[in-house]
Every structure is written in structure tokens, then in C-alpha cells.
């Protein structure tokens, strides 16, 4: 493996780690489409920053995108709590509205500029080792710094909020009544997801981020009995996907993010069929009547 190969695996693995930690809670809360929604809702933020500064891929762009990512989850959460529309509909109402607002802003004020999500904040992990910044006299890939910091922050957040996250995901009324501030912690989780998603888009692209949030967590759920083990297993599945996907992509000369995503999907399929208690084939084999002894 070349140093760039190692760097791609490390950046993807770090990102898989932070996404799997938060994604596990999203999957258990049936909010797995949230990162996907955020990936669309950020568009007006990008356009507004372009109109204000003329920049398309600056730090300000990421901040503008984050602001609208947070607006998306806040709108979703508010609409959900009114109880007037169902949770999934609330999400499906908010993000297309924000995406449309972005399209409208482009067509009205910036039709001459080439702005779309790909050129603005959706990076590609393939090129991540090449975009470096200077840190303590060394040239370090920007994505390594960003994903490293994001992972550290996510781990701290999950450790600190472990009990309320667990309790409010499992039994929201109990968490609220017991003084664990379940509602507040749920809002913190949503904002953290929006923030992490946007910085992750910038490093590795949208599809890989959505994959990392959902697929390792869903795979891990099939393998475990305890939520703590689920988080560890999800992180492990993420790293295996990153390593296996990068190696396969080099071997077969295919897209790196695409192959990493496909590897994660293949691991999920394996778990779906062969997981010890919940696997479809495992269950079928266990249910098959034993042959009568002669």
C-alpha cells in the first residue's frame, strides 16, 4: 500500500467511526434518512455564501451549509413534535423545501455561475490525500485533520451523553420524566448529525457519508444483544469496509468511494443472511424440522 492508500483508508475509517457512532442512534430512532436529507438541505447555504463572498468552496461555504443543515433538522424536529404530521413526513417536507429554495436562488441570482453540490462541498476521498494544509510545519491532508477532530468530538459527545442517548432512544418518556433531559439530548444528536454530515461531505462525498451513517449501524444491529456492543461492531464494520473497499478499488481499478460503499453493502448482506440469531438463513436452518432418528 502506498502512503496515499493508507491515508485514504485512515480518513475513511475515521469518518466511518464518527458516522457509525451517531448513525447507530439514528437507525434505532428510525431517522436513518436524516443525513440524506441534510445533504440536500445545505444547498441554499452554499448559494447564499457564494452570493455574499463569491466563494464556492471555502470555509465559509462549509459554515453556510452547516447552518442550513441545522435548520433542516431543527425544522424537522419542530414539525415532528407538533404531532400534526408523522415523523417521516416531517423530514420529507422540510428538506425538499430547502433544496428548492437553493435551486430558486441559483436560477434567480446566480444562473451564470456554475454552482452545484458536487462542485461546492461534495469532496471525493480519492483526492483527499492531495489537499493538504500546513500543521506544525508538516503538510497534512486537510481531510485527516477535519475527520480526526470530528471523530474525537463525536466520541466525547457519545461518552458524555451515553446514558441519556441510550435511555431516550429506548424509552423517551422515561428519559424525560427521570430528569435525563432526553428531549435536549435528542436535539443535540440532530445538530451533531447535521454538523458531522456537512464536514464529512467535504472530505469524502455525500454517498459515502450516507453509507457510513446507516449501513455499518444496520449491520451491527443484526449481530448484537447490547447497544454498547452495537456501537463497537458498527465502527468495526466501517473500518473493514474502508480497508476492504480501498483494496478492492485498487485491485479492480474502480471508484474508491463507490467500492467502499459496495463493500459495506456486501457486509450488511452477509449479516442479513448469516447473523447468529437474526440472520434469514440462520433462522430458516434453525426452524427446519430435525430428521427423525432411525
Amino acid at each position: 500500500m502506498s502512503p496515499d492508500d493508507v491515508m485514504i483508508v485512515v480518513i475513511s475509517g475515521l469518518l466511518a467511526t464518527s458516522c457509525a457512532l451517531l448513525g447507530s442512534f439514528l437507525v434505532l430512532r428510525r431517522q436513518a434518512l436524516l443525513p440524506d436529507a441534510v445533504s440536500h438541505a445545505v444547498l441554499p447555504g452554499i448559494v447564499l455564501i457564494f452570493l455574499l463572498t463569491g466563494e464556492r468552496a471555502s470555509l465559509a461555504t462549509v459554515l453556510g451549509a452547516t447552518a442550513f443543515g441545522v435548520a433542516c433538522v431543527a425544522g424537522f424536529d419542530w414539525l415532528r413534535r407538533t404531532g400534526v404530521v408523522a415523523s417521516d413526513a416531517a423530514l420529507a417536507l422540510v428538506f425538499p423545501a430547502l433544496f428548492s429554495l437553493g435551486i430558486l436562488l441559483i436560477s434567480r441570482f446566480a444562473s451564470g455561475a456554475h454552482i452545484d453540490l458536487d462542485s461546492a462541498i461534495f469532496g471525493d476521498v480519492t483526492f483527499a490525500p492531495l489537499r493538504t494544509i500546513e500543521l506544525a510545519g508538516l503538510d497534512v491532508p486537510r481531510s485527516l485533520v477535519i475527520t480526526g477532530a470530528a471523530t474525537l468530538g463525536t466520541v466525547l459527545l457519545v461518552v458524555l451523553l451515553w446514558r441519556p442517548l441510550k435511555a431516550s432512544t429506548f424509552d423517551p418518556d422515561f428519559a424525560e420524566l427521570g430528569g435525563l433531559r432526553g428531549k435536549l439530548v435528542s436535539q443535540v444528536l440532530l445538530v451533531a448529525v447535521a454538523g458531522l454530515a456537512v464536514v464529512a461531505f467535504d472530505s469524502v462525498g455525500a454517498i459515502l457519508v450516507i453509507t457510513f451513517f446507516v449501513v455499518p449501524a444496520a449491520t451491527a444491529r443484526l449481530l448484537v444483544r447490547r447497544v454498547g456492543t452495537m456501537l463497537v461492531a458498527a465502527v468495526a464494520v466501517g473500518w473493514v469496509s474502508a480497508f476492504g473497499g480501498q483494496r478492492a478499488a485498487v485491485t479492480f481499478d474502480t471508484s474508491i468511494p463507490g467500492t467502499i460503499g459496495l463493500t459495506a453493502g456486501a457486509l450488511f448482506l452477509l449479516a442479513l443472511l448469516f447473523a447468529p440469531r437474526k440472520g434469514l438463513l440462520t433462522k430458516r436452518l434453525a426452524a427446519r424440522p430435525q430428521p427423525r432418528p432411525r
Binding site: 400534526v84 446514558r163 418518556d173 427521570g178 448484537v224 447497544v227
Partner: protein, 254 residues
Amino acid sequence: MTTSTDSRTAAQPPSALSLREVSASYGGRTVLDGVSVEIPAATLCAVVGPNGAGKSTMVKAALGLVPSVRGHVELLGEPLRRVRRRVAYVPQQDSVAQDFPITAIQVVEMGRYPHRGWLRRLTRHDDELVAAAMDQVGVADLAEHPIDELSGGQRQRVFLARALAQGADLVILDEPFTAVDARTESALLEVLTTLCQNGRSVIAVHHDLRAVLDRFDHAVLLAGTVLAEGAPGDVLTPEHLERAYGMTPLVLNR
């Protein structure tokens, strides 16, 4: 608790749950309209009424779990914020995440979270309370089982164990006996009755009017508003039930 000079009796709050003119609405529809109840402490109380009568909403409103509530609520003679740790809630099973990966003992350990908060470790004392609670409801042997592999009755025992481990003075249960076999229902009622004999208060939303007559001390008959409250025999009269249900449930006519 025979003499009024007994310090524990003197310290007992006047009532387990006191609601005065409590109203609540869901999505624009008024579910509770001016509900006032005075449920005495150390009793096993049932909240009964037809579907849509607002039984769940009433207990949730009392616990601050419904967004738009008007009126005055006191639990154990205090506002909710001062008694959070002393009040345990066993929710309806469908409000719990069914596929959450968690073992029975982990659920019961959650009963100690209100006392330990976000970060403080559970102590040996906490572990003992958890083990004793699981023992009391007969699920000690299920400790390491994932909750999604338990039967409805076993799950309900585990959730009651969580309330016991919390050591609450008031336990509120929302439809605890749906999807529960008769043997478990009887065993759980036994545990709840013992709690009340030890001075704790229990309020349960319940459907089985026969069981309320036989085993509960106090009843509230609800149909958007309170139709009757008091001893079950005085509350579940044919006239009251006629008004609540539009008919007299057959079970009481035998």
C-alpha cells in the same frame, strides 16, 4: 401506620396525585376537559374508561409528558420538578423502541439513572436494588436475555422491575396488562398490592373492570372528563358505566 402521631404517617403527603381543572389537547382536539381528581396515597388506583376517554393523556399530563396542558398538577403533594426521582412510569409497550438492543438487566438498571444522572457510576447498592427488583417480579433468570426475545408478560415484569429498582413512592402504569397472560397479571397485581401495603402509591390505566372491582382500592372513571371517582364499587355502577360506555359491560352483570 395505625396512629396519626406516627411520624411516617404525619409526613405522608395528602394524596398521590392531585389534578385540578386539568385540560389537554392533541393536535387541536381536546382530549381532557377540566379534569379534577384526588387520588389518596398508599392506594392501588385504577383509571378506567372507554377508548379515547383520555386515560393515557391524563397520566401523561400528570407526568409532564404532554406538551399543551393547562391546570394544576401535584404529585405526592409537590410539583413534578421536585419529585421526579420519586415517581416511576411504566409506559405503554408501543412507546418503547421494540428493536433496541438491550438486555433485561440493563433495562432495570435504567431505574437507577434518575438517581445517578448522566455520569455517576452505579454503586454496589444500586446493583443490589436491581437484583432485588428482578427477583421480586420473577425475572432474575432472564437478566442477560435481550428484551426483544422476551414474551409480552416477561417484558412487562422487567419494566415493573425497573420501577421497583427506582424505589419510587408513586408508580404510574399505562395499560400494563395488555398482551400479558392471566398468570402474569395476577402476579404483577400481587407485587403492586404489596407496594401499596408498604405505603407506596400505584396508579394504573386498566381495561379489566372485573379486576378493578376485585383488586383495586380506588378508581377514576374517565370519559374526557371525570364521571366518577372513589371506591371501585361506588364508581363502577351501572348508571356510571352507562354514561361512560353507552352500555353496561356484560362482565359486571353476572
